[in-house]
């Protein structure tokens, strides 16, 4: 997990630079980094803010880009659903991609073990927050000195790519992920990043069809 934060940091730095270069003032860029805290939705939002898009377009786009978090949250509930609401609120806000993948690999059994899981979760969150925010703020302050033409921001895509690979388990998951990728590209022209909605729907449909044709006998408990 420590290693992946390198990719997160490079991505944070580039996002910090991108916020200032898109025309946001220093204070707005700092505000965005510190409170929005979601790289892919920040990057999707920048051209919309710069181009003066209506607020509902901005927000709908961010929602679609963040759809993966909606899906992750269904699994977070299995571990943290019993906690009081304010704890669920703070847990939710900080639950980034890296934390999700690392946590699910560490605790594959979907049951609550508060003594082990909460320290692990908060440690991971603190690490991820620093690895994102510090370079992002550095990028905002040093926007003119960080070279963007090197393509460092691609480290963020590579980090998400590695996280994605680590979720691939069965042949069926490969097929469904492939369908999602193709659908996201094919439907890219849709407004509001609805291509992501289309891709998830297509991948889930294919997954269900594959389950119907070739049920996995080994893991019947997962079908509930």
């Amino acid at each position: 997990m420590l290693g992946i934060t390198l990719g997160i940091s490079a991505w944070g730095l580039v996002t910090g630079v991108a916020m200032v270069k898109s025309g946001l003032s220093l204070w707005l860029a700092l505000l965005m980094s510190l409170i929005v805290f979601a790289g892919s939705s920040q990057l999707a939002a920048l051209p919309l803010i710069a181009g003066g898009a209506p607020l509902w377009v901005l927000w709908a786009t961010a929602f679609c880009v963040n759809l993966r978090f909606v899906i992750f949250s269904a699994q977070w509930r299995l571990y943290f659903g019993h906690l009081p609401r304010w704890q669920r609120l703070t847990l939710s806000y900080f639950a980034a991609d890296l934390n999700y993948v690392a946590f699910m690999r560490r605790f594959p059994d979907p049951q609550a073990e508060p003594e082990a899981q909460q320290p692990y979760y908060w440690g991971g969150v603190a690490l991820n927050w620093c690895a994102w925010q510090l370079p992002s703020i550095a990028g905002i302050l040093l926007a003119d000195r960080v070279p963007t033409e090197w393509g460092l921001g691609f480290a963020g895509v590579l980090a998400l790519l590695g996280l994605t690979y680590s979720l691939l388990s069965s042949g069926k998951s490969w097929i469904s992920a492939g369908v999602a990728g193709c659908a996201a590209v094919a439907a890219y022209a849709l407004p509001l990043r609805l291509n992501i909605v289309v891709a998830i729907a297509a991948a889930v449909a294919i997954g269900l069809l594959l389950d119907h044709w070739k049920p996995d006998a080994a893991k019947p408990e997962l079908r509930a």
């Binding site: 759809l67 949250s73 806000y93 590695g162 996280l163 469904s176 369908v179 999602a180």
Partner: protein, 109 residues
């Protein structure tokens, strides 16, 4: 966008971060979901990630890459090879980024 409008937009984005990350965790009762949807959700996390990253790799301003001289393709190929060789995410990032830098700075792609 005026300054106050951008501020409002950013506050809204922060709220969306919270609401999406807590969508199924925040409600007091579990949101009712049919069995087929629960089963289908197994495929959704992977699909959602793939849907965000694949366009970042193969699209340039909304168009499919038209040249093989795109450093992203090579960075992804090397990163992918590393992942399935060693199963390490860090190596995927480092090897892919190294290829990216080499092609951008070395060959000027």
């Amino acid at each position: 966008m005026s300054n106050w409008e951008a501020t409002l937009g950013i506050l809204g984005l922060a709220l969306i971060t919270l609401l999406t990350r807590g969508f199924f965790l925040l409600p007091r009762r579990e949101l009712p979901m049919p069995d087929w949807a629960k089963q289908g959700l197994r495929y959704a996390p992977l699909a959602a990630l793939a849907a965000v990253i694949v366009p970042e790799i193969v699209l340039t301003k909304g168009q499919l890459v038209s040249t093989w001289q795109d450093p992203r393709l090579f960075a992804v190929a090397v990163g992918t090879a590393y992942f399935f060789w060693k199963r390490g995410i860090l190596g995927t990032i480092v090897s892919g980024t190294a290829v990216m830098l080499a092609l951008r700075l070395g060959l000027g792609w």
